[in-house]
C-alpha cells in the first residue's frame, strides 16, 4: 500500500474529504442507476406474468 496506515489512507494528507466524497458520489449514483433499472425490470416481469395469468 502507498500509505503507511489506514488513518493516512483516510486523511490523504488533507485531500481525504475531496477524494472520498468523489468516490461516494460515483458509487451512490451508479448503484442508484442499477437499482432503478433492476426494480423496473422486476415490475415489468410481474406485470407480464399477471397478463399471462389473466389470459390463460
Amino acid at each position: 500500500m502507498y500509505f503507511e496506515s489506514l488513518g493516512a489512507l483516510w486523511d490523504m494528507a488533507g485531500h481525504g474529504p475531496y477524494v472520498w466524497s468523489s468516490y461516494g458520489l460515483f458509487f451512490a449514483l451508479l448503484c442508484l442507476n442499477v437499482w432503478h433499472a433492476r426494480s423496473q425490470k422486476l415490475k415489468a416481469l410481474k406485470q407480464a406474468k399477471a397478463f399471462v395469468r389473466r389470459n390463460q
Binding site: 433499472a37 425490470k41 416481469l45
Partner: protein, 254 residues
C-alpha cells in the same frame, strides 16, 4: 452497388428482433455484471490505496479514477444513443429505439458524476468549485442535452414517434461532442488535456495509468449492463401479448 451497401448481414437484422435481443441480452447480462464489478473494484482499490501520489496535485489526483471514466462515458453514451437512434431511423428497428432510450438515464448519470467530481477536484487544484471554462461549460451543455432528450422522450406517449424524435435530437446533439473533446485545444482553459488517448503513449507511469484503464473498462461494462437491463424491461412492457414471451422461462418459471 447502393443496394449492397444498405443490405445488412443476417445477424444485424437478428439484433432488431425483440425475441432474439431479450434472450441474447439475458445471457450476456451476468458476464457484464461480473466484469463491471471485478474491473471497478480492482481499478478503484489500486487507484485509491496503491498508486503513488502525483508530484504536483498530491492525493487529490486520485479523483481522476472516477472523474475520467465518467467524463469519457458521458460522451460515449451520447454518441451510442445517437448511433442507436440513427439505426432505428434508417432500418426502422424498434429495438434500436429502445436501446437509445435506455442510454438516456445512465448517460445523464455519468455526466452528473463528471461535473460533480470535477467540481470537487477543482477546489484543491484551481481553488474554485466552478469556473466558466470551455470544457466545463460544454459538459454542462451536454447535461442539458440529456435533459432535453429525456423530456422529449417522456412527453410523447406513442413509443415509435417518441423514438424517432429522440433519435433526431440525439443526432443533432452530437455536434457538442467534438466541442467538448477539442475545447481544451480550441480555447485557453484551466482544464488539463486528455489523460490518455488511443493513439499516444500515456504520459503517466503504469502504476497511475493502469488503474484508470481498469475503471474506464469497468464503467463501459456497467453501461452495457444497464442498457441491457433497461432494453429488456422495455421489451417486457411492449411484447407482453406475444406467444414467445408468454412461453419464455422468465414468465413461466420453467
Amino acid at each position: 452497388m447502393t443496394q449492397s451497401i444498405w443490405r445488412m448481414p443476417r445477424w444485424f437484422h437478428q439484433m432488431g428482433s425483440p425475441k432474439w435481443f431479450y434472450g441474447f441480452g439475458g445471457s450476456l447480462q451476468p458476464w457484464f455484471a461480473l466484469a463491471a464489478f471485478v474491473l471497478l473494484t480492482w481499478g478503484i482499490v489500486w487507484g485509491l490505496a496503491f498508486a503513488p501520489a502525483d508530484y504536483q496535485q498530491g492525493n487529490s489526483f486520485r479523483i481522476m479514477y472516477v472523474h475520467v471514466p465518467a467524463a469519457i462515458l458521458s460522451q460515449s453514451v451520447f454518441l451510442g444513443m445517437a448511433v442507436a437512434g440513427a439505426v432505428g431511423l434508417i432500418w426502422k428497428m424498434k429495438v434500436a429505439f429502445m436501446v437509445a432510450r435506455s442510454c438516456i438515464a445512465i448517460g445523464a448519470t455519468f455526466t452528473v458524476i463528471a461535473l460533480l467530481t470535477g467540481a470537487i477536484w477543482g477546489k484543491p487544484t484551481w481553488g474554485a468549485y466552478w469556473v466558466w471554462d470551455a470544457r466545463l461549460t460544454s459538459t454542462l451543455v451536454l447535461l442539458f442535452l440529456y435533459a432535453g432528450v429525456m423530456a422529449l422522450n417522456q412527453a410523447i406517449a406513442e413509443r415509435q414517434i417518441a423514438g424517432k424524435a429522440t433519435a433526431i435530437l440525439a443526432i443533432v446533439g452530437t455536434i457538442n461532442i467534438p466541442i467538448i473533446k477539442y475545447s481544451v485545444e480550441w480555447w485557453n482553459t484551466l482544464h488539463q488535456g486528455s489523460s490518455f488517448t488511443l493513439t499516444a503513449k500515456p504520459s503517466m507511469p503504469a502504476d497511475m495509468y493502469l488503474p484508470l484503464l481498469l475503471t474506464v473498462l469497468g464503467s463501459y461494462c456497467l453501461f452495457v449492463l444497464v442498457v441491457l437491463m433497461r432494453t429488456r424491461t422495455q421489451i417486457l412492457q411492449t411484447q407482453s401479448g406475444t406467444s414467445w414471451l408468454m412461453q419464455h422461462r422468465d414468465i413461466t418459471g420453467v
